[in-house]
């Protein structure tokens, strides 16, 4: 057997190399092994490029923009509460570092809670900001990123895992499993939205006396969103012990319903939120006009635009699933 690196050296390299390409990269480095020093140099030279390539393959620019806005707005919101609106450029430093940490962490794990840990990368880069801003901003950013990642799963490096589905025959068990899995996904999504709405009610209620008009409009908007989600987006109970055609038709109708819901995201989810935010910012501007208020409103609108685009992309994914179902039905 040809000489190779020690188990310890290889374990260290394995720890550093992203899982998606670990097997072949470790094998190649083993095959090239000549000495300890050469192996270490090879790992050090190869790792950054491999990491960059995996990051590139797992980044969706729209989700990246959404994450960037979520992180920055979190730090900005906490800074506003703790100190007041200031240090807009300085806040970008821990935001960028946190975002980079999140993207690097995403290459190593697809678990949604990883961003919460990766956000801690921002701590050494406080750059003179109050500790409370960094700490609470990081916690808020982590929670928002958790919601973003749950709602919009990152692109899997699935080129190599893809299996052809053309001509695939689907059984009764398959369609029943797909139906139930989809209903569980919808239920979980709705639960996250209800929890988020409850948090908004609590935080607005807490500050209601300071801003009753804006708070009231926000509460009405969020209540409308909850009502719309409940009436138009609830997961329906799947049929029990039905035949293939019943499950297929049920699953297809549910896919269509959720697809239409995502396509209409502006009308029932985003637009109702805008008046409340606009009232709060407008009243703050009347009391104490500052140039950042317009920029803040712009950032919020940009954030909403990102959410709309991602939901439309989700609608297109659901349409593809509908088309696959139709194609499978045609083959049966």
């Amino acid at each position: 057997m040809r000489p190779g690196p020690s188990k310890r050296m290889e374990a260290a390299a394995a720890f550093l190399i992203p899982p998606a390409c670990r097997e072949e990269v470790l094998g190649d480095l083993y095959e090239r092994y000549k000495s300890k020093t050469q192996y270490i140099v090879d790992v050090v030279r190869t790792l950054p490029l491999v990491l960059w390539s995996q990051m590139r393959r797992t980044i969706d620019p729209r989700i990246l923009l959404l994450e960037a806005l979520a992180v920055y707005l979190s730090f900005l919101a906490i800074q506003w509460m703790v100190v007041g609106p200031s240090d807009f450029l300085r806040l970008a430093i821990p935001s960028l570092v946190a975002l980079l940490g999140v993207r690097v962490a995403a290459v190593y794990s697809s678990r949604p809670w990883i961003p919460i840990l990766a956000i801690s990368f921002a701590f050494p880069f406080q750059t003179g900001l109050p500790l409370w801003t960094t700490a609470l901003g990081a916690i808020l950013a982590g929670l928002l990123l958790l919601v973003v990642r749950r709602s919009f799963p990152q692109r899997e490096n699935d080129l190599r895992a893809a299996t052809p589905t053309a001509g695939q025959i689907i059984t009764l068990d398959d369609i029943r499993r797909k139906t139930l899995e989809f209903q569980v996904q919808v239920s979980r999504r709705n639960l996250r939205e209800y929890v988020a709405a409850a948090l908004v009610f609590v935080s607005v209620g807490w500050n209601f006396s300071k801003e009753p008009l804006g708070g009231g409009v926000i509460i009405v908007g969020v209540a409308y969103v909850v009502y719309s989600l409940r009436t138009r987006g609830s997961a329906r109970a799947a049929p029990q012990d039905a035949d293939f055609t019943t499950y297929r038709n049920f699953h297809r109708s549910e896919l269509e319903r959720q697809r239409d819901l995502l396509r209409a995201i502006w009308s029932w989810y985003l637009r109702p939120m805008i008046p409340g935010i606009a009232v709060v910012v407008a009243r703050a501007a009347i009391r104490n006009p500052r140039p950042w208020q317009a920029a803040y409103m712009g950032l919020v609108l940009l954030f909403f635009l990102g959410i709309a685009k991602l939901n439309h992309a989700g609608a297109r994914r659901l349409q593809r699933k509908i088309d696959e179902l139709d194609a499978m039905e045609a083959q049966r």
């Binding site: 057997m1 040809r2 190779g4 690196p5 290889e10 390409c21 097997e23 072949e24 990269v25 470790l26 094998g27 190649d28 480095l29 083993y30 095959e31 090239r32 090879d42 030279r45 190869t46 790792l47 950054p48 490029l49 491999v50 960059w52 390539s53 995996q54 590139r56 393959r57 080129l159 190599r160």
Partner: protein, 125 residues
Amino acid sequence: MGKIDSLGQFEQLVLTAILTLRDDAYGVTIHGRVEKMAHPRTVSLGAVYVTLDRLEDKGLVASWLSEPTAERGGRSKRCYRLEALGERALQESAVTAKRIWDGIAEIWGTEWAKKWGKQWGKEAI
């Protein structure tokens, strides 16, 4: 067939390496062949990986994991092959390179072309 973007020089080297290596195209061998073709420039293994990933994303190559081997510490190789789109892209690049070579040789003369070719270890046209 899909639209092909023009290939960078390094991408052309990697595709050519995969073509010439046939069934033996994986990270280490592709790197060795690319380094030979790019001589005297040195090529890093990481740069080869980045380019292979990019070519796979573009649909020009396909990859799969082979069986593990003892020579690689019990680890698999990721083997590559050209897809039809990759073959077409490489053909177009080769035709363009030939046109460039002919154009330069027409101005600077075939004696220059021979001398230049020998200097870099290539056969003169």
